[in-house]
Point group: D2
Chain length 301, copies 4
């Protein structure tokens, strides 16, 4: 269970005391504030704060366009126009702050998104909790035989059982030893900054993560994608649901132009035009490599 | 006058309708929201939105420190500790969004602070307003004879009058011509993106500027400094007053450790230690260059 | 003429003295070093330094892929794969440093690309040169009647002549006055940081600009695009030629996947699939707005 | 041993073939290229590439200062002036690319420096090596009793032996199980992206890391500092030696103004001035907290 009764009580207290503000408000985001959305076996995301809403995107863009803009007179149309034409600065005017609990190996992927603010729970100052990510059996997949970076079929029977047994017992033993090394009971006790090196990469950590909407969309595009590792994708999907409630118009445009969109190379454009003209085109006369052709036909047949 | 009656009415309407929120609130920041603080002859800063308050800095830092932290049990003490030890990430958890009206030559300095979000009024899409910065007589200074990058004594008499006359008439003529080139009255009308090239650098522009508190402090340290050009310093000073109301504890720490602080080189430390031991030290046996020694003695005599 | 005989002699001296290095070398980039490529009437770009070449992209990516990668055994294939799948970090491992001379209004667009290093000629310390951008007659365009942010037909006859006359005389007068205000002949002389405010936005400035290849490609995608303002596009095109010589394989992938590519929204994918299946689809049953449909049919008919 | 004979041969081959270049060259950096400087028990840093030298810093700054600058006519003096006055952009004009092998828990601290380019060896694509950081006995320290984030006395006797035994056996067992889970011998074999979660934080990883000199100095100031964790400090110290050879003048200024320098708060300045005037000042009348006073007296007695 991710949260203790004390923590839940604290969250409920925070949610019980609205205060007046003159700032832009998003009802959709307010409904999420402080609540923990569970992810994986011990993780969560929690909205700690937000800045702006759909109207704030338009308001910022109007400064950029000024009084001269009359054509795009509909907020939704303007937001879709901005998204379609890669105008990123108005989306940067919204900001989301999350509290996230996640396995260390997921955190290591996540942190590669550099344009964000992060404050992580420090294992130099503090003692880590005894919590590890252990995959559910349906997520224990074999190495893909097609894709060097992905997963293939789910493991079965004794092999799956053995993997789970290893992950559980190694994590447990590592944590026992972590505590034993730290203990000051009858001994000096190893420094925390050293003892932590014994903990495996499925140990849970926590951080505050703050990001603007433009960079958050970039994160979601890469991490909520079917090619992302399952264990980070579920975090991206949980965040995507929050964003859909926070800035529904912007999220709709993002879904249409980014998540549901397709990037065509010059060669792919040429092939599609030939096909539209009635021609039959195969890989050999497409100018594409076999890998690129495979990816092309996955979308276009 | 920076704002029209319509704009003032719009601001008053925004300030008349508080709404409930569960987010962290800063009473000090609420009092500033949307109001225009006048700067220079036609400029202003306006707080459009903010995220976080002093408590939010501590809250973010506690994730980083976790349950193990007991020594620094006072919020103010923790914030001062973080500032003293250059822990920047908790300060990044607060964010400020401003609407700023400023001369183009000030905007060109300002934009060099890259870690911020900016949406500028576009002179490709829109027609600029007829507003120029004309210095007040007491700010019309001569080139410094000491400092290649600064100002010296105030200009006097006929010279000052001539400078003001030039600035006013050139700006006025440039703008007349700008409008004449744009005009579609009996002619095609030059494209806005071209006509703007005739406007001088004291033309006012506007933007939305959003920045986190850590980077805002860095901006204030450089731009509210006595060596900064007067015309950007007054913006920094106006923003500093807002920040003092928004996050008073963090701002107090910033004032003590950054604005009121002094950076000593290794050589300067050595000289001070010798002086504290009763020795008399001059430039020639300080190891410092003349320029460095002059800067040293300005502080320490 | 952008360069003085002294400057040309200095460049030739720099080019006359090769030195040995153990670093990765690009013959294509070496051929450009220090030479000025003229842009507009007084501007230029000059390659000052570079880091890496096509092989350096592959080398960095192989660390990321490690010994396990055997499938993508061809450097060119790997670079194309990285570009197609938006793997940006290997491209960040190359870096280009340029010296650029450009009008201030172009510099103001350019600087919005934040992930780059810039050192600009300072008009606080130094006196600007008497050089202004005056468009050639064929670039004097009217405001577009279709696109709020663009140009339409070229101005003709008396109107064009009047615009050129205004731009030249206003620039000339502003510069005369700039010099007059600075003069210390029989007067104190206004501070440089103040006098510069009288100069128009077509005054030329200079800077050193350093950027990694990933961010440079992003710059080129936006600024070498047909929708970019002509005056920045010609800089982007001049830089693109340099990049094509410096990292020819990466540039080829960039041309195919980014410059020659097309981004389709989910709705556009659906329409194309229906058309490929033989259906006739119009705007009204496409789910697209009129603006989006116009942009779609510009590519697909 | 960090490098295999094959790898050493490859490095020697790279070092055997200098090529001509017209770029700025640093003899000091050339001497380091490709060589592995050993750090910890299995780690290293290797210079892969560099851009610029001391003269390149001056050259970039001169654009910024332009022809008007005559006072600071000595390169070394200018570099020291730039460092003293926090002019960061000229230092950003130099760039260093390193190949680093380091334990994961060190990598997790390191990556917090966001303004850098990173390409890490991927444990999704590749199989990790069996290499772990095991501290030498003299680095096995107890938790500090003064400083929540640091180390105290070295562990002794049986306790130290037990810690080493734990670290070695847990790492070894975790890696055996990692290989067992990956094995496709008679079973499907777990996906690499999942199996890696069993590896402890002292497992070695590798990356390419590219950074500009300004941000590198910031890294060195924080990580070569006495308060940094030993295991990252030794990397910073190894890099500092390289930088001292690469840009000796800039490094000298950095040592004097940053590493050997001291930041004084406004309160500390006041106390020093009172002491210089002959007054005796204690914590109670200094305005400082106990913690701040302790840090103050560590420097000033």
């Amino acid at each position: 269970m991710p949260l203790t009764p004390d923590q839940i009580a604290e969250i409920e207290a925070l949610r019980a005391t609205p205060r007046p503000t003159l700032r832009a408000v998003s009802e959709g985001a307010e409904a999420h504030l402080y609540k923990a959305h569970e992810v994986l076996d011990h993780g969560f995301i929690r909205v700690i704060d937000y800045m702006g809403n759909d109207a704030a995107i338009v308001q910022a863009a109007r400064v950029s366009y000024g009084a001269g803009t009359k054509k795009v007179n509909d907020d939704s149309g303007l937001i879709r126009y901005l998204m379609r034409h890669w105008h990123s600065t108005p989306f940067e005017m919204c900001e989301l702050k999350l509290h996230v609990k996640l396995p260390i190996f997921v955190a290591r992927q996540w942190i590669r998104h550099r344009t964000a603010n992060v404050n992580e729970y420090s294992a130099r100052y503090s003692i880590m909790d005894r919590e590890f990510y252990i995959p559910r059996p349906e997520h224990l997949a074999a190495q893909s035989t097609v894709n060097n970076q992905g997963r293939g079929a789910v493991l079965e029977g004794a092999e799956a059982a053995r993997v789970l047994e290893i992950l559980k017992s190694d994590a447990s033993r590592s944590f026992d030893h972590y505590e034993e090394m730290l203990s000051q009971d009858g001994q000096q006790g190893l420094a925390r900054e050293l003892a932590r090196m014994n903990l495996p990469a499925n140990t849970y950590t926590q951080w505050y993560w703050k990001v603007d909407l433009h960079n958050l969309f970039h994160f979601l595009r890469l991490r909520a994608d079917a090619h992302a590792q399952y264990e980070i994708r579920v975090y991206a999907e949980a965040i995507a649901k929050v964003v859909a409630d926070w800035v529904p118009v912007a999220f709709g445009a993002f879904e249409d132009y980014r998540m549901g969109g397709v990037a065509l190379s010059g060669k792919a454009v040429a092939v599609l035009k030939r096909r539209l003209a009635g021609e039959t085109v195969g890989q050999e006369d497409s100018g594409m490599s076999k890998g690129e052709w495979r990816e092309f036909t996955e979308v276009w047949g």
